[in-house]
């Protein structure tokens, strides 16, 4: 089974600033990492690959330094990668982004399954996976916990969802897009050896000249939605330092908890 995984680079820390003019998140101010739920998607892909063979190709749209996230994904076991980077596609909303990713997937090759993380740690819209499926005209199952594949039924796949504590199996035809929940599995770690090997794995780079999407369909011009307001969370250091012996600290803590309970 050939699998595409869609990943996103998100800031390591929550300390992200907001552009007061465009209301966009200024990500250049923070170190990037692979969106945590996307690591769960990669792990699902790796398990399926071990079961069925084939290859796993990881896709991302972003600035040139998003190559780092792709190399890291390949250190986690993905075989190939594709970076879509072009100022023309930058700043797009979820629809414009999905169009670009769908076009890149079509251009790259034929895939039996496309996986993404269910939510990004920064934007957290949870929309791109579903929109990619829509652009490609294939089924989508959102917020899944795991995947079950039966080789006796090679043209279908079971997406396992958890709803109110119950597990539901949603069977859908392949190819399909599945969005994997954060924390649904334990992603394997990269090793020194796999990190070094990832440096030499294939990485294709596409611009919009390769994808040939109309300029008014991508980036800011291709985005029907606009962020009209955003704000940086206010707050501050609310921690109170307690001092004393362990016994005194325990009494103080208990009193504070009792006091808080009294407010409820």
């Amino acid at each position: 089974m050939d699998i595409a995984v869609l990943i996103k680079q998100v800031p390591v820390s929550n300390n992200v600033s907001v552009d007061p003019e465009t209301h966009a998140l200024i990500r250049a101010s923070a170190e990037g990492m692979i969106n945590p739920a996307d690591l769960n998607a990669i792990e699902e892909a790796m398990v399926l690959k071990e079961q069925t063979g084939g290859k796993v190709v990881v896709f991302t749209m972003g600035p040139p330094d998003a190559e780092k996230a792709l190399r890291e994904a390949m250190a986690h076991g993905c075989d190939e990668s594709c970076l879509i980077t072009d100022r023309a596609v930058a700043g797009g909303d979820t629809i414009a982004t999905a169009k670009v990713l769908a076009e890149a997937i079509k251009k790259y090759g034929k895939f039996d399954l496309i996986l993404s993380g269910a939510l990004s740690a920064d934007g957290a819209t949870g929309q791109v996976g579903a929109m990619v499926a829509e652009c490609l005209g294939i089924p989508h199952v959102a917020e899944i916990q795991s995947i079950q594949y039966d080789e006796a039924v090679p043209d279908k796949i079971d997406a396992v969802k958890k709803v109110y504590g119950e597990r539901f199996h949603v069977r859908c035809a392949l190819p399909a897009v599945l969005s994997v929940n954060f924390g649904s599995n334990v992603p394997r770690l990269a090793t020194l050896r796999s990190t070094r090997a990832a440096k030499n794995k294939p990485l294709a780079t596409y611009t919009n000249a390769d994808l040939k999407l109309p300029a008014d369909q991508v980036g800011i011009p291709g985005s029907p939605t606009a962020v009209i307001d955003s704000f940086e969370p206010t707050g501050g250091r609310m921690a109170e330092m307690l001092e004393g012996t362990p016994e005194e600290l325990a009494v103080k803590l208990k009193n504070m908890i009792d006091e808080e309970k009294g407010k409820l």
Partner: protein
């Protein structure tokens, strides 16, 4: 007795340890200014290995090592966890005769101070201590069960508390914006809060920031940043069934960190002329995690494949990059500068946790009584001039 007012810039191991040692004098008025949190910057990224006979500090400075080690043991005995001591023991591997001789001298010194130490040439015995090691191409190893590693952040906070008990003041979240100098003499400093303080002495304990701190008084502090690139490895079996000791090779060192293993290139193997190893950068731009270079992956893989093959296929849990502040001779810069009252306690490089107690003890005496010591003479700023 006339009070002496001392302002300390930086609340890492250097600043808090000096603050504590100064607070032991009844005529000292000490304020530590920390722009972030106590022991939270390069101190927090320190491995905290204070071993009885590794290669991090020459045997010439054995007393410095012993004073540091015993200061922390006493701290830990006063309140468990206050120095974050993990008594794992240390294995120092001899890869050539020169290293072997250094280890043997260190063992003799440790034993003279009442600690255990043995030089082992029986390779089966070395593998008993560290089953994942390769004993090919080594002469032997020094081992003691008495030491291990400490937690620089815990120690800094403990010194800060002890200093406060003695009347010292800590100001966190406060950045020093100007050191006031009149007629080439320090008179005080100004902070980001808009406050102005009068001091007889201002001490730069800012480590990797010293280059910038010194610029405030026109002192060119001759330090370079060397990259401390650290990786946390999850062993292939997820959990080791033995106590991973502090492991020292001339090229790198390792220690346990919970169920993981911390590995870092040794600071004495850094080449100040290699731009991949050293430079003068902005420590404020360091990310909290990550930031390591590809060359280090290659270096570490090559080293572990040959020397500790049992952990070479460990998972990479996380990594970080820190800057050590190193003068050209890899020794600290302590004491007076051409600006009267502007004192340095910086440049500890990778050895801040080891060296700070003895250095602070002597520096406090110099500031409070005007009495120098052989250690201060050795590590004086003037050695680096001209």
């Amino acid at each position: 007795m006339e009070k002496k007012k001392i302002g300390i810039i930086g609340g890492g191991i250097s600043g808090t340890c000096l603050g504590y040692h100064l607070s032991l004098y009844d005529n000292a008025e000490v304020i530590v200014f920390e722009k972030d949190t106590i022991g939270g910057a390069s101190t927090a990224k320190s491995a905290g290995t204070v071993c009885l006979f590794d290669d991090s500090l020459k045997n010439r400075y054995w007393d410095v090592r012993l004073y540091g080690f015993e200061s922390y043991l006493k701290m830990e005995a006063e309140e468990k966890g206050s120095a974050g001591f993990d008594k794992t023991g240390t294995l120092v591997v001899a890869t050539n005769e020169q290293v072997e001789a250094t280890i043997k001298t260190g063992i003799a010194l440790a034993k003279a101070a009442g600690y255990s130490g043995e030089y082992i040439t029986d390779k089966d015995r070395i593998k008993e201590i560290l089953p994942d090691i390769s004993t090919d191409n080594i002469l032997g190893a020094g081992y003691t069960a008495d030491d291990g590693y400490f937690d620089g952040t815990m120690i800094s906070n403990t010194y800060a508390k002890k200093m406060q008990k003695n009347g010292g003041v800590i100001k966190t979240g406060v950045k020093v914006t100007e050191v006031v100098v009149k007629d080439n003499k320090v008179t005080g400093l100004k902070t980001s809060e808009g406050e102005e303080y009068e001091f007889d002495y201002v001490v730069d304990c800012t480590g990797p920031w010293s280059k910038f701190t010194g610029e405030m008084v026109g002192v060119d502090v001759p330090i370079w940043h060397t990259k401390a690139e650290a990786f946390f490895l999850c062993p292939p079996g997820k959990k080791l069934n033995y106590t991973f000791p502090v492991l020292k090779y001339p090229e790198f060192y390792g220690l346990r960190a919970g169920d993981n293993i911390f590995i870092c290139k040794s600071h004495l193997s850094m080449d100040l002329n290699n731009p991949m190893h050293a430079g003068q950068w902005d420590p404020d731009k360091l990310p909290a995690t990550g930031g390591t270079d590809d060359y280090f992956i290659d270096f570490l893989l090559d080293q572990l494949e040959v020397k500790v093959p049992g952990i070479v296929d460990s998972g990479l849990v996380s990594s970080w990059l820190s800057y050590r502040a190193e003068p050209k001779d890899f020794l600290p810069i302590l004491g007076e500068t051409p600006v009267e009252g502007y004192i340095l306690a910086t440049g500890y490089g990778g050895n801040g946790v080891i060296e700070a107690p003895a250095a602070s003890r002597d520096l406090a005496k110099l500031i409070m009584r005007g009495e120098s010591t052989p250690l201060l003479e050795d590590w004086a700023f003037k050695r680096l001039l001209g």
